[in-house]
Amino acid sequence: MSKANLLERRSVVSALLSGRKDAIVVGGLGASTYDIAAAGDHDRNFYLWGGMGGAVMIALGAALAQPKLPVVVITGDGEMLMGMGSLATVGLQKPSNLTIIVLDNEVYGETGGQASHTGANTDLVGVARACGISDARSIATMAEIEAFAPSMQDVSAGPRFVSIKIDSANLERVLASRDGSFIVTRIRSALGFAPI
């Protein structure tokens, strides 16, 4: 497969989130969390620095709790592979306000660029569709991303799954908060929930 026209991750995430409005956005550990931070800190950003494989489930919990709000999870191929069973769980629950975005660079970028399964044998769009997420697609151009982004606001037509092949360049880290209590309390506060 040609790698000449792969997208640049920060541009992709900025374009996806530029019209986010009230959406809750969950970032999988590693570069996805840095990408979300680079697009602009936000009190509804749920940054992950661990819990590998849990990003989609965290987003599902939030989506079921807040069915009128768009919930978007942006994660990487390695993190998604570790939580692949969660696609079956999402396919069963069918939360109509949830969008799952996988930034797929086919490597474990955070640990030295070791090859992941998505470059060889595993088609995550096929997995998602086979798990019952019928709106599952791959996106290859910025024009498609800009056309797709507004649909994440439609809380009646999900769940959606999108795989975006990106280049594997390691970019400068944009460090989000790594204080879990702060992150969760800030989201709860933005939603109108008082601290205990």
């Binding site: 661990g50 819990g51 807040q66 939580g83 069973g85 969660s86 629950q93 969760v184």
Partner: protein, 184 residues
């Protein structure tokens, strides 16, 4: 010692009072999301949850999914409880980090295997390690072994989890649920 039978016989039995006790405690604490990996000991409670419109039952492919789900639920303003068997505790280990990092009201109800007349040796290693794994992960452990104490133990667990954001596991002893009978 009493024994529990296979599910086809179970289905004809009345819901044991302690399952109903747990259900009413969960209702009283406004529990809304109930992720689970099935266990025979939880089967009546799962049926009650599936029939309750205010609760969302979420079947999982592996127990660690439930830990992450409950973190997201809390961020979104809802309480939940994770139902699993003792072997599932081992599947959760890294994801238990979230209970320390987010300090969210994590409650799990764990039906025990590998103790009290266990027939299947494969259940024993994880069943024997369950308490230590939970405690090493920073989770407080309570246990109910008799029908008469289930309500107050689950109530105490829910109270400290939801009111004090203290991650808590309530173990439901095999002595309570009955050792599984294997017959050919």
């Amino acid at each position: 010692m009493h024994a529990r039978h296979d599910s086809s016989e179970n289905a004809a039995e009345p819901v044991p009072a302690w399952s109903e006790d747990i259900f009413s405690v969960l209702q009283r604490f406004d529990v809304r999301q109930v992720p689970y990996v099935p266990d025979a000991g939880h089967s009546q409670l799962i049926e009650r949850v599936l029939g309750e419109p205010s609760m969302r039952a979420v079947p999982l492919t592996t127990e660690e999914e439930g830990v992450a789900l409950l973190a997201g639920a809390w961020a979104g303003g809802q309480r939940g409880v994770l139902l699993m068997q003792s072997s599932g505790v081992g599947n959760c280990v890294n994801m238990f980090s979230l209970t320390q990092i987010f300090r969210f009201p994590f409650l799990t109800l764990v039906t025990m295997r590998g103790e009290w007349g266990e027939f299947n040796p494969w259940q024993v290693p994880m069943g024997s390690a369950t308490v230590d794994v939970l405690e090493l992960s920073g989770i407080k452990v309570l246990r109910a072994s008799h029908t008469s104490e289930v309500r107050e133990v689950v109530e105490a667990g829910a109270g400290q989890a939801y009111n004090a954001c203290t991650p808590t596991a309530v173990l439901l002893s095999q002595r309570l649920i009955g050792a599984k009978v294997f017959t050919r």
